[in-house]
């Protein structure tokens, strides 16, 4: 599962960044990438066990927001027409592939930004 690779990157980051030491971290899973939260959590816990690591984390799904560079309208996942399984899977691997399958719901432009909710991020206070 490719969730493992992403979980691994989170653990590696927490292990190497001194500013994250002994912090309770929040893992943001971008709505766009559509990570399977259960698999991700399982991967995290397995990897933490293997490394005898005590990292404390919580998981939050981060709503995806897009902004059209032509008409300026912000739009959301709910406004995007349903994608095929293969398309969703490719966005799951490389979220930027949304640009190949989605257009601005207002003006049909292919030129839009992913403002937030793209992929995996670590948040801490």
């Amino acid at each position: 599962m490719h969730e493992w690779a992403l979980a691994e990157s989170v653990i590696k980051t927490v292990e190497t960044k001194p500013e994250l030491k002994n912090k309770k971290i929040k893992i943001l899973l971008g709505e766009l990438q559509d990570i399977d939260e259960e698999i991700f959590r399982f991967a995290m816990d397995e990897l933490l066990k293997q490394r005898e690591s005590q990292i404390k984390y919580s998981i939050v799904v981060d709503e995806a927001v897009f902004k059209c560079n032509e008409c300026g309208r912000e739009f959301f996942m709910s406004e995007i027409t349903k994608k095929s399984k293969a398309q969703r899977e490719n966005i799951h691997f490389i979220p930027e592939m949304v640009k190949a399958f989605v257009k601005c719901p207002v003006c049909d432009s292919i030129d839009f930004d992913i403002v937030k909710g793209r992929g995996v991020m670590i948040s801490y206070d």
Binding site: A5, L6, S9, T13, N90, I110, G119
Partner: protein, 232 residues
């Protein structure tokens, strides 16, 4: 205050830790043979007995899959994403995810897409990895230079004074950072020059057919470069 960290960057070095040599194929100018050379070089390295990977870094205009005739294959998911095996080469490209749809990316998207692919692709053990670069020197090149730092740069140039000028002007970016550069003279008329690949009118007909590619003068020239290159 809430801080955000992108975790992907921290795993990339680990993804390349068992890759012995990395060659970036650039030349800054478009249409000078970077992709043909990258694909042929991978075949040649594999023929010489080196476990070889090929990574097409041209996100919107990838072509290595066309050159190698890759069809009906998709990377497997296993603790990450495994490159596709073709003619003994481990091959990865954005092509697998675009489903041949046209699309446009701005700078930040390119940076993110590059980072994502480097983070999740599991190369495992390789003697050498060839990275086919898009033309120009922009987000993908800068991002690669920031994220991996143990590559050599193959600078492709043609006899065109335009190509020669750009290579001599731009190669400083890599040299100043301590990267070793190797010039390859493509479409060469002067075969006495080192690292030359001759102009070969049969190469376009061989595209998509690896057996045919291997019969060309182009391929023989690439093969004779590659044994020096792996020693470089």
């Amino acid at each position: 205050m809430t801080n955000l960290i992108d975790p992907r960057e921290n795993i990339i070095a680990e993804r390349f830790k068992d890759v012995k040599k990395i060659f970036l194929v650039s030349g800054f100018k478009g249409g000078i043979g970077k992709s043909l050379i990258s694909s042929s070089l991978s075949l040649a390295m594999n023929d010489l007995g080196f476990k070889t990977g090929l990574l097409d870094m041209d996100i919107t205009s990838s072509t290595d899959h066309i050159i190698l005739g890759v069809k009906d294959k998709f990377p497997e998911e296993k603790n990450g994403i495994l490159p596709v095996e073709i003619y003994g080469i481990k091959f990865m490209s954005f092509y697998f995810f675009t489903m041949s749809k046209p699309f446009a990316l701005r700078g930040n998207d390119i940076k993110d897409a590059v980072k994502e692919l480097l983070c999740v692709t599991v190369w495992d053990k390789l003697d050498c990895l060839i990275i086919d670069m898009p033309p120009g020197f922009s987000d993908a090149a800068l991002e690669l230079m920031r994220l991996i730092n143990n590559f050599k740069v193959i600078l492709v140039r043609t006899p065109s004074p335009l190509s020669i000028d750009i290579v001599s002007r731009m190669s400083g970016i890599y040299k100043d950072k301590g990267f070793k550069t190797i010039i390859v003279n493509n479409m060469s008329k002067d075969t006495t020059m080192g690292n030359s690949i001759r102009y070969d009118t049969s190469i376009d007909d061989a595209i998509g057919n690896v057996t045919a590619i291997k019969k060309t003068q182009f391929y023989r020239d690439v093969l004779s470069l590659s044994s020096d290159m792996i020693k470089a």
